[in-house]
């Protein structure tokens, strides 16, 4: 009976709002299943877990040397690892997700069904974000167990949560690239360039500027805060208990200047990198012809 009535409904309009949660769930699960066939996600999960395991082994070896377990240091190396791998995978997965389907005509086929563009868009993001979360969770899960001699569970959970946030932010940027560009090849190229910029070039630029023009500390810190990778790094270091004092005068400046608001600032930067690109991508996706 209900099935009959639904079939009788007119085809949903594109800008239909609110979205149907049931439809969203179905589509997101479909996206998750597709992500399994995407070898990038699997490859990343394995690579991340393997590297984290290697780090754990190294940490154990050096702990044995002086009887001092430098967990903070190991965790810091883990942060470094996350900084390189997570954005690379999230950006590349995000950048291919829509443009590929559009090229193959699958997107047109999907949108011909009684689903709105908003639903398809949100489902894609949620499904892929879940896949990223799974990859990060497995990586950290393996390393937490391997490093259990020196680790603190709460710290691992915190790091994993932050890494997931970073992955979602980079995924949002990747999806934006995927919506805007016409060809898969160029989308991947742009994504890798963004990754290189955020991971290296931006920092090299700030360092160069600081050395040549004596930037003010507030400028250095703000420019660094805007970079989601650095915001992630600072948020995870601030979690190790010492504030940002390990990051020298600029870190101490930020700690005294912002005090308790510092974590809020760091998280706000990460959240902005999730919300803003996603919003832009959503607007573009609804407006663009297929």
């Amino acid at each position: 009976m209900t099935a009959m009535r639904r079939q009788a409904e007119p085809v949903r309009r594109d800008d239909a709002w609110p979205v149907s949660p049931r439809l969203l769930t179905t589509l997101a699960l479909k996206e998750l299943r597709d992500a399994l066939s995407n070898k990038w996600v699997l490859l990343f999960t394995i690579a991340f877990a393997a590297l984290a395991l290697g780090l754990a082994a190294l940490a154990r070896a050096s702990a044995g040397m002086t009887g001092f377990a430098g967990f903070g240091r190991t965790a810091a190396s883990l942060v470094n690892l996350v900084l390189l791998l997570t954005p690379l995978m999230a950006l590349s997965v995000g950048a291919t997700c829509i443009v590929t389907e559009r090229e193959r005509g699958m997107l047109g086929y999907l949108l011909a069904q009684p689903v709105s563009r908003t639903e398809v868009f949100l489902a894609k993001y949620i499904g892929l974000a879940l896949a990223m979360t799974a990859a990060v969770a497995v990586g950290f899960g393996v390393s937490a167990i391997a490093m259990s001699g020196a680790g603190d569970g709460a710290l691992f959970l915190r790091l994993a949560a932050l890494s997931a946030l970073l992955a979602w932010a980079m995924l949002a940027v990747g999806v934006l690239v995927s919506v805007v560009l016409r060809r898969t090849g160029s989308a991947v190229g742009v994504a890798v360039f963004i990754w290189l910029t955020l991971a290296l070039l931006a920092d090299v630029g700030i360092i160069g500027a600081a050395l040549t023009t004596r930037l003010r500390t507030v400028t250095i810190f703000s420019l660094t805060l805007v970079n989601p990778l650095q915001a992630f790094k600072m948020a995870s270091l601030a979690g190790f208990g010492a504030g940002l004092d390990v990051l020298g005068p600029a870190g101490v400046w930020a700690t005294t200047e912002f005090g308790r608001r510092l974590p809020i600032l760091l998280y706000a930067s990460l959240l902005a990198w999730i919300v803003l690109p996603l919003l832009a991508a959503w607007v573009a996706f609804r407006r663009r012809p297929l």
């Binding site: 470094n80 899960g141 001699g149 709460a154 691992f156 660094t224 005068p249 400046w253």
Partner: protein, 455 residues
């Protein structure tokens, strides 16, 4: 000679049960008496103006009632043993103390527990005294309003041994020579140990952790640091050991771990004919292992281990390390970042160790760039220097005979820190379950279930 033995006299006074307070007992005693002080709360201030030995029965408490000193000693050869001493005033001007000894040579303060005291033990012009086996806990005040756990003022030849001092300001020696400071633990203070104009002092087997600075040694001569542990001293200055205008230092077999700076050297040695020797110490996991001011000269490092410090050796504000030696008599140090080899297996690396990190030289030019520590740009900068040697900086230091293995520190067993292994395993298992659960949801759903869901 340090007086450690309590003299035994014929007469021992013991107050009756619930007897009057300690002040009456002291007033009734003759010089040289031994008083057994019964359990109960004895109000302070108790003034001891003749040589006496006060032995506390279990449960004997001296309570200053929140004002002034708990005990004031003005006579030589007084022993105070086994009390709980508490609740002094909190006037920094009047320097309210648990035990305030002025002109009391040969005082012995031992086996007492001090709680809620501004100053713990204050020895003024009381040479040859001993402060041993006490537990001294400061008042819960801002660092700036606290007093010193132990303070010596013009008291030579004292022994400070096996005390546990926490939440105070400093344990400080002013103008007090030949002090022996042995096997104390100082935590959560400002400067764990603080020397001002105090010469020929020996620090052995102390543990100084979680203070702003482990030991700050200033304007003093001929100091020996042996087998101490300086761990996690990360306050605003955050040195394991800070040296300021010290002449004559031997530091051996110490551990400097997880401090902001392991050893910070400012104008030490200051005299041109003095060299300082650091040997067999371990500098590990500090932000900077050893940090020297640019003008510092004449420091010798041999047989030390530099393990995974973010910067092993740094010169603050740039400059070089000329006339500081890292190889002495053919023996260098162990460097965890040494990449050489030892083909003839003599324990000494065949290639010199060179500290020529480009990133660190950038840090020396602008220390605010530490903001970029622990991010990929650090390794990228180093890789760039390796690929293009033209941007490689002049080596900060060269160790011609680097050691292949670190020195063994006798008796160093460090707690592994907060290591709740169970929580890590639980967190790991939880994360794994979450991740695999999501992956499981990705598995293709059987056709049959799809059809069921559709109907």
């Amino acid at each position: 000679m340090i007086r450690l033995v309590v003299p035994i006299t014929a007469l021992a006074l013991t107050a009756g049960a619930g007897a009057a307070d300690l002040r009456a007992l002291v007033a009734a005693a003759s010089p040289g008496d031994i008083i057994r002080v019964p359990a109960g709360v004895h109000p302070g201030t108790v003034v001891i103006d003749k040589p006496l030995t006060l032995l506390a029965e279990p449960g004997a408490i001296i309570d200053a009632g929140g004002a002034g000193d708990a005990v004031r000693v003005t006579a030589p050869n007084v022993t105070i043993r086994g009390f709980t001493i508490r609740n002094t005033g909190d006037s920094l001007d009047r320097e309210n103390a648990g035990v305030n000894a002025t002109g009391a040579p040969g005082a012995v303060i031992e086996h007492n527990v001090f709680t809620d005291v501004l100053f713990g033990v204050y020895l003024r012009e009381s040479p040859g005294s001993a402060v041993r086996f006490n537990v001294i806990g400061g008042k819960a005040l801002d660092l700036a309003r606290r007093g010193d756990g132990v303070r010596l003022w013009q008291s030579d030849d004292c022994l400070i041994e096996r005390n546990t001092i926490h939440d105070g300001r400093d344990a400080v020696m002013w103008f007090s020579d030949r002090t022996r400071i042995v096997a104390n633990t100082v935590t959560r203070g400002r400067y764990g140990l603080h020397f001002m104009y105090s010469d020929d002092n020996v620090l052995e087997d102390n543990t100084l952790s979680h203070n702003s600075v482990g030991a700050f040694l200033m304007y003093s001569k001929n100091l020996t640091l042996r087998r101490n542990r300086f761990v996690s001293n990360r306050g605003p200055s955050g040195f394991g050991v800070g040296l300021k205008d010290v002449d004559g230092l031997l530091a051996e077999d110490n551990l400097f771990a997880a401090n902001r700076v392991g050893v910070q050297v400012d104008n030490s040695p200051s005299a041109v004919d003095v060299r300082h020797l650091y040997r067999r110490n371990v500098f590990a996991y500090n932000d900077q292992g050893v940090a020297l001011m640019p003008s510092v000269r004449r420091n010798d490092f041999t047989g030390n281990a530099f393990v995974d410090n973010a910067e092993q050796v740094a010169v603050l504000g740039g400059g070089d390390l000329s006339d500081n030696r890292f190889t002495v008599a053919g023996r260098g140090n162990f460097w965890s970042d040494y990449a050489g080899f030892d083909r003839d297996a003599d324990g000494i690396g065949d290639l010199p160790y060179r500290a020529d990190s480009l990133f660190e030289s950038l840090l020396a030019r602008d220390s605010r760039l530490r903001l970029f520590l622990y991010s990929p740009v650090q390794q990228a900068v180093e890789a760039a220097a390796r690929v293009a040697p033209v941007v490689r900086p002049r080596p900060l230091l060269t160790d011609d005979a680097p050691l292949m293995s670190p020195p063994r520190l006798p008796g160093v067993v460090l707690a592994r820190g907060p290591a709740p292994a169970v929580s890590a395993v639980a967190a790991g298992a939880g994360l794994l379950a979450l991740g695999l659960g999501i992956f499981g949801a990705m598995l293709p759903v059987p056709e049959r279930r799809l059809r069921e869901a559709a109907t």
